[in-house]
């Protein structure tokens, strides 16, 4: 009885999912058909061991190292490191190595459980020797139930939605209102009363330009009798150049914008000194209402758009290039780019699939590496690309000659060193092949190298290259044949292989073997793989030598460029060293970043390059520049990295778009790396996500919450929209009418919904989170709006547009916050304290924390003292008599509304108790302290 219970339990555990448990009868029937003794042995000895010691980590819940031990299929499939069973050589099974603790790197179960008792190890051994019997008819449970992605709302096409009917036909002012009101009415609720005009102009001004309205603007709007006064106000704000500064900054959160690369090693420049041209591009794009689809295409592939377009668009590529640089780890850089593109533009968390299929969304690992291939097919340019020509004039002349001088310094040196480096790699193939035989090594951070040292990166490239070739490759087929031999039988078996090449008639079936390779090994059969490596090395060194000699003589004779060697056999060998996919064809930038040069040479190249960087970063007279990228001559053919580990490349996948968003058969990308095709797929009208995600972000910034409250996750684990029809209505119309963000603003802002007041006790209790939008959300100013409003109120704001980034924390920093220098490695405390978006990765939305550190900054920082003084010292205020009039004017100046009598009374009482004279020390006068209190008030920091 006890045994039966235990077995049932074991099965439940093994299968994970109770509905899939094979019934006891079925299992027993199956067992009867097999060897009853084996079943008995398995159930009494082996299964208990598996259940107790193995399947917690290798079962339905977890699959450590990709291994499952809860079914025979799993057992036979093995894990990431290959097979665990070797039924031909049972003793060599990795499973036995592991449980026997024979290899210090492979010990199972691991600490703290520790080694199994020897009886248990013996049981495993017996079981495997007898063929690893497993009762028939058992299926493993699924890892996690995949919710149906076929019916997930966000993957459904965007459909134009009919406008719903409502009872209160007088209330709606725009289509948006019908969607909102019909839901409110459905709940028996009514919208909040309208905001008054003073509140409304403050709200919409902060919303669109991120600044408070001036007293005059408030008065003009409040007194404007025209019926379209509000629409005119919106037009004025949308036409303001400050609009792009506000909305561009929202986009910079999406784009994880920063002016620095994050942590960098050794001598690398830590700043992106031209990052600001991307920021200015974004601001201009919003100001000019660049259609959103075009905006995205430019950010993904401006370099591949037809020439003749505005060269400023190249700056758009900063969207990809300005992420953290991860000390040069390209896999992480690409991961960051996949993340910013998929979460930022599609609301999909694709990077979850870097190591395994996405657990919730229909994103297989293969899709991740399809995108990986797209981004791995481009390379960031070394020197930021000029956006247009230098202007005319003396400064431009000077610029051109200064730059040319520095460029010459570099050109006189680097190409020579680069040629010498490639020459070294081409001459020393044997050394590299011998290292390649030893296999991959764990990735290391690049460090300076001594002359003659083997470059592991190049070894890895040889390993990849050899894997690409395979046994049928004419040149490398013999390599693979020899490599498959056991060392003990190498000589005899190698002889047989060589003999096989000259078997009469054998060539008809067998793949062609390169003639020179064939004759080389036939005349001097190898005794080991090292001999094979030396043989290839010798042949390739010869062809390299011949080609170099030929090049030199051609150059001496002054004849044209050489294309190839005339002997096709020789040319085939030459391609190994000179072809586009040659393992030694490292690019100059790669050579530098990976320290492939000898240390002193590396240093010298960097010195000469940095001279150019430093000149460009502050040269007057030159054109603006941008951090762009270019396509590589040979696109990356991506392979899935097993468990995300680049040293374990698995099967090859095409570069193509995500399966979940591709109706019908997918076509692999064919134009270069496929970035432009990716951009077109993202901005396709058929893509169900792009427009929805964009519309939702705009809605969120107007209301404080999105219709979908997980703005960068529209997947199965994201939140469903509160108003799906409204979202679709807006998304469909957005695409229909040309992807105009400014039009989208108008649809939302002209709605009655947006113009509601924020105060309504009844609605607050019925819908505390305001999911039905039966009122306006009261919102705190974000850091940019707070700082800009403080500067504006103090009369200190510098409204200059665009240009290089400026430090925000130095005294007298008066530019708008969007122009502040963002150092992702050392974000100023002020920004972190006020919930600025982390520039480390794409930021879906800001946190809103309320903490005393914010209060301390506002109370005690030098900046605030300075602004309080400036505000109190504003000519228009200081000229008023020091009494009720001045207090009232200051309250209006800070909060944008008339002061109440009680407020004036409180203020005057306060002033009366303050010292009459301005203090001599760094402190504030009474009026200045009063000014500060007004800036600290909730009414300053919140918008109704």
């Amino acid at each position: 009885m006890k045994q039966a219970f235990w077995l049932g339990l074991a099965l439940t555990v093994l299968c994970g999912c109770p509905t899939e448990v094979t019934s006891q009868e079925e299992r027993e029937a199956a067992a009867q058909a097999t060897n009853a003794g084996q079943t008995e042995f398995f159930e009494s000895r082996i299964r208990p061991l598996l259940v107790e010691h193995c399947i917690t980590c290798h079962g339905s819940q977890k699959q450590q190292s990709g291994l499952r031990l809860d079914s025979r299929a799993g057992l036979l499939a093995g894990g990431d490191s290959g097979a665990v069973l070797d039924l031909a050589h049972p003793r060599a099974s990795r499973l036995l190595t592991a449980v026997g603790y024979e290899d210090p790197d492979l010990q199972m179960p691991p600490a703290p459980a520790g080694k199994l008792p020897s009886a248990a190890i013996a049981a495993f051994s017996t079981w495997i020797e007898q063929g690893a019997f497993w009762p028939a008819g058992e299926r493993p449970g699924k890892p996690a139930a995949l919710a149906s992605d076929k019916t997930h709302w966000a993957f459904e096409p965007v459909r134009p939605r009919p406008i719903p009917s409502v009872q209160d036909r007088a209330w709606p002012r725009s289509p948006v209102d019908y969607f909102v009101l019909s839901r409110l009415e459905g709940q028996g609720m009514t919208p909040a009363p309208d905001a008054d005009r003073t509140a409304l102009i403050r709200r919409v001004t902060f919303d669109l330009i991120g600044l408070p309205p001036s007293d005059a603007e408030v008065a003009a709007f409040v007194d404007d009798p025209r019926p379209d006064a509000y629409a005119r106000l919106i037009d004025r704000l949308l036409d303001s150049p400050h609009y792009g500064e506000r909305w561009g900054r929202y986009w910079l959160d999406v784009a994880r914008y920063a002016d620095t690369k994050g942590y960098v090693r050794l001598q690398e420049e830590r700043r992106f000194y031209c990052a600001f041209t991307y920021r200015d591009y974004v601001i201009a794009a919003f100001n000019e209402d660049l259609p959103y689809d075009r905006f995205l295409v430019e950010q993904l592939a401006a370099d591949q758009l037809p020439p003749g377009t505005d060269p400023r668009a190249l700056a758009a590529l900063g969207f990809l290039t300005l992420g953290r640089q991860f000390t040069g780890n390209k896999h992480d850089v690409i991961d960051d780019r996949i993340d910013v593109v998929t979460r930022g533009l599609l609301g999909l968390t694709v990077t979850c699939a870097r190591c395994h299929d996405h657990k919730y969304d229909p994103i297989p690992t293969a899709d991740y590496y399809s995108l990986y291939g797209v981004f791995a097919s481009s390379e960031d340019v070394i020197f930021p690309t000029p956006l247009g020509k230098p202007t005319a004039g003396a400064a431009a002349k000077q610029y051109e000659s200064d730059l040319a001088a520095r460029q010459r310094e570099l050109d006189d040196y680097e190409p020579k060193q680069y040629a010498a480096l490639l020459n070294e790699f081409r001459s020393r193939v044997a050394d590299y092949l011998i290292k390649a035989i030893a296999g991959r090594e764990p990735p290391q951070q690049p460090l300076p190298k001594a002359a003659g040292e083997i470059r592991q990166i190049v070894v890895e490239r040889w390993i990849e290259y050899l894997e690409r070739t395979g046994p049928t490759h004419p040149v490398w087929g013999p390599w693979h044949a020899f490599a498959a031999l056991q060392p003990e039988q190498f000589e005899t078996a190698a002889g047989a292989i060589i003999a096989g090449w000259s078997t009469p008639g054998g060539e008809r079936q067998a793949p062609r073997v390169h003639a020179t390779v064939k004759s080389y090994f036939a005349s001097d059969p190898p005794h080991s793989m090292a001999d094979v490596a030396r043989g290839y090395g010798e042949l390739l060194a010869q062809v390299h030598q011949r080609w170099q000699t030929l090049l030199a003589s051609t150059a001496a004779a002054g004849s044209g460029a050489l294309g190839r060697l005339s002997d096709p056999d020789e040319e085939e060998l030459r391609q190994v060293l000179y072809g586009d996919d040659s393992p030694v064809a490292v690019r100059p930038l790669e050579a530098l970043a990976e320290y492939l040069y000898d240390a002193p040479i590396n240093e010298e190249i960097v010195r000469r390059r940095n001279a150019i960087h430093q000149y460009l970063s502050h040269a007057a007279g030159g054109p603006p520049r941008a951090h762009t990228l270019i396509e590589l001559p040979v696109p990356c053919e991506p392979r899935v990295f097993v468990r995300g580990n680049p040293t374990r490349p698995g099967r090859q996948v095409p570069r193509q778009f995500l399966k979940a968003l591709s109706p019908g058969q997918r076509k692999p990308f064919a134009q270069g790396g496929g970035r432009l095709e990716l951009a077109r797929a993202i901005t396709s009208r058929d893509n169900p996500l792009t427009a929805r995600v964009a519309v939702n972000r705009v809605w969120e910034h107007h209301f404080g919450t999105g219709l979908v409250r997980s703005p960068s996750n529209f997947g199965l684990r994201g939140e469903a929209p509160t108003h799906p029809e409204l979202l679709d209505y807006l998304a469909a119309r957005f695409m229909e009418e040309g992807w105009s963000i400014k039009q989208l603003h108008r649809w939302i802002l002209l709605s009655h919904t947006y113009q509601q007041g924020s105060g309504d006790d009844v609605l607050r209790s019925r819908d505390p989170e305001n999911r039905l939008y039966g009122r306006m959300n009261r919102r705190r100013l974000d850091f940019e709006a707070l700082r800009d409003a403080l500067l504006a109120t103090a009369g200190r704001l510098d409204r200059t547009l665009g240009g290089p980034s400026a430090e925000l924390t130095v005294p007298g920093a008066n530019r708008r916050t969007v122009y502040g220098l963002i150092d992702r490695q050392g974000l100023p405390g002020m920004l972190a304290t006020f919930d600025f978006a982390s520039p480390d990765a794409h930021s879906p939305q800001r946190y809103t924390t309320i903490v005393p550190q914010q209060a301390l900054f506002l109370m005690n920082s030098p900046l605030m003292a300075d602004l309080a003084r400036a505000f109190a010292g504003r000519a228009d205020l200081k000229s008023l008599p020091a009494g009720a009039d001045r207090a009232a004017a200051m309250i209006r100046g800070a909060w944008g509304r008339p002061a109440s009598e009680r407020e004036i009374k409180l203020s005057l009482e306060y002033i009366a108790r303050e010292p009459a004279d301005a203090p001599a020390d760094a402190s504030l006068s009474g009026w200045e302290a009063f000014a500060q209190a007004l800036l600290l008030a909730n009414e300053f920091s919140y918008v109704d």
């Binding site: 992480d332 001594a450 309320i850 301390l856």
Partner: protein, 480 residues
């Protein structure tokens, strides 16, 4: 320590609607008074409904707070807490087991120039570098089988601090303040002390990653001795009396606004934040002022910057700061590639103060609930680092990085004292007995603080993240 600060009810009296108060409690998972130290989350996470759950430990933790003494650069195990006499036998010769691959090339066996001796009841051997620490050896659990992944500073620092070697992830201190809040609303919950600048990887070592920014460590440059220079914006410009009057005016104006604004909970919390900030000024100033310590305590910790910052650490945990990380210095002071004798100087700088800290905490009854962690991001090779003229190293008397096996120790906070755990091979190169990976250490630390590391998660970018990612096992033998 004020775990229950007085509300200034006379000045800012109000009666918020009960719905709002419940909402606050739900969101913070703590008392209302503690609220302002905790952010009001408006983000993805709050809506996923897990924040409130995470805001409580899963079970009562034995440790309430942590002091992490970070010997950045990587202290050598065979010169400190892991004696390997067999190295003498092979001195100057190749190790029979061969050298493991580390960052740079190393050569022959290099015995420790420092003498070891047994200490305490437990008789655990400690080298002459740490005689003061050794006096408390019976309160210490030495882990001699630590393992990390890569022999480079940058990834190993991030692994030790954030559980992930490359990608931006929250640090352990951020996780813990996120999970537990601070016991003292008038001080930041997570403080990173480092004199003279930042360690390698800078502020990423105490980053909050995807957690709200307020949970990142507050960096304090302990090179400064004046309190006003230590903490930003802590000093009132107006002086206490005038500032109080100014804040009273502010409170009155805010109260009117609140009354017109349906007692909005955010507005209330912001009003309270000014009162907390006001109290913080005096409390934080006091906490960082070591000159208030009696002379015998100052003498016990000894002279110098290390002594001062370690004493500050004690004053902070005494006041309820959750996580204090004490870095030895800017860059990577313990990185003795060229000359292991540097270790003697470094140990002299901190040994007395660390010894004093352990005794001091014990005398005050704080050691039981304060976890003290000592260690670097990895250890060093038992083989000598070969001279490398490329980077100006000529002495051939130092050791390279070693992530295959190294020593750390824990004391207090529910840790079993007077034990060693695990072992490296006979030369001290690789952990061979009961290896403890950094993820296991994290799992154990979270356990001591009352968290099941597998359930302590935060939803981000479509997935529930953990400090230990998909790894880590609690090392039960370290628990008292």
């Amino acid at each position: 320590m004020s775990t229950n600060p007085k509300r200034n009810s006379d000045r800012t009296h109000r009666e918020p609607p009960s719905v709002s108060r419940r909402e606050l409690l739900r969101r913070s998972g703590m008392g209302l008074a503690a609220l302002a130290m905790l952010p009001l989350l408006e983000g993805e996470a709050a809506r996923a409904g897990t924040v409130a759950d995470a805001r409580r430990s899963h079970f009562p933790g034995k440790a309430k707070r942590i002091i992490h003494l970070f010997m950045n650069g990587g202290p050598s195990q065979v010169d400190t807490f892991d004696p390997k006499p067999l190295l003498e036998k092979y001195a100057g010769r190749e190790l029979p087991t061969g050298n493991l691959q580390t960052e740079r090339r190393t050569g022959a066996a290099f015995p420790s120039p420092f003498k070891f001796q047994k200490y305490g009841q437990s008789g655990i051997e400690v080298s002459e570098l740490f005689p003061h620490v050794a006096e408390s050896i019976d309160d210490i659990a030495v882990i001699r089988s630590m393992v990390a992944d890569i022999p480079n500073h940058e990834p190993s620092l991030l692994l030790m601090n954030c559980g992930e070697a490359r990608l931006p992830r929250p640090s352990m201190g951020s996780w813990l303040t996120y999970g537990l809040g601070s016991e003292n609303q008038n001080l930041p919950g997570f403080v990173a002390l480092c004199p003279g600048g930042l360690p390698i990887q800078g502020a990423q070592n105490w980053q909050s990653g995807f957690l709200p920014g307020i949970h990142q460590g507050t960096y304090i440059d302990t090179q400064h001795t004046q309190v006003e220079k230590l903490i930003e914006h802590i000093q009132s410009r107006l002086g206490s009396e005038r500032q109080r009057r100014q804040l009273d005016l502010l409170a009155a104006l805010n109260q009117d606004h609140l009354n017109r604004s349906q007692h909005d909970r955010d507005l209330e919390a912001r009003i309270e934040s000014f009162e907390l900030a006001y109290r913080m000024q005096s409390e934080a100033t006091e906490a960082f002022d070591v000159s208030r310590e009696p002379q015998h305590v100052l003498d016990m910790y000894g002279p110098g910057t290390q002594a001062r910052q370690i004493l500050i650490a004690r004053r902070l945990v005494e006041r309820g700061v959750r996580f204090v990380q004490v870095w030895h210095g800017a860059q990577q002071p313990w990185d003795s590639h060229n000359d292991i004798q540097d270790h003697a100087r470094l140990a002299r700088e901190c040994d007395q103060a660390i010894g004093a800290l352990l005794k001091d905490l014990k005398q005050r009854g704080l050691l039981d609930e304060t976890l003290v962690i000592w260690g670097g991001e990895f250890g060093r090779t038992p083989s000598v680092e070969l001279p490398n003229p490329l980077i100006g190293q000529a002495k051939a008397n130092g050791r390279d990085h070693n992530h295959y096996g190294f020593s750390m120790w824990l004391a207090g906070g529910g840790v079993k004292g007077g034990i060693t755990h695990g072992a490296t091979d006979e030369f001290g190169f690789r952990a061979v007995e009961k290896p403890v990976h950094v993820h296991d250490l994290h799992a154990t630390i979270l356990h001591l603080m009352g968290f099941d590391h597998e359930r302590f998660t935060f939803p981000y970018a479509g997935r529930d993240f953990r400090l230990t990612d998909v790894h880590g096992q609690v090392v039960g033998e370290l628990l008292a």
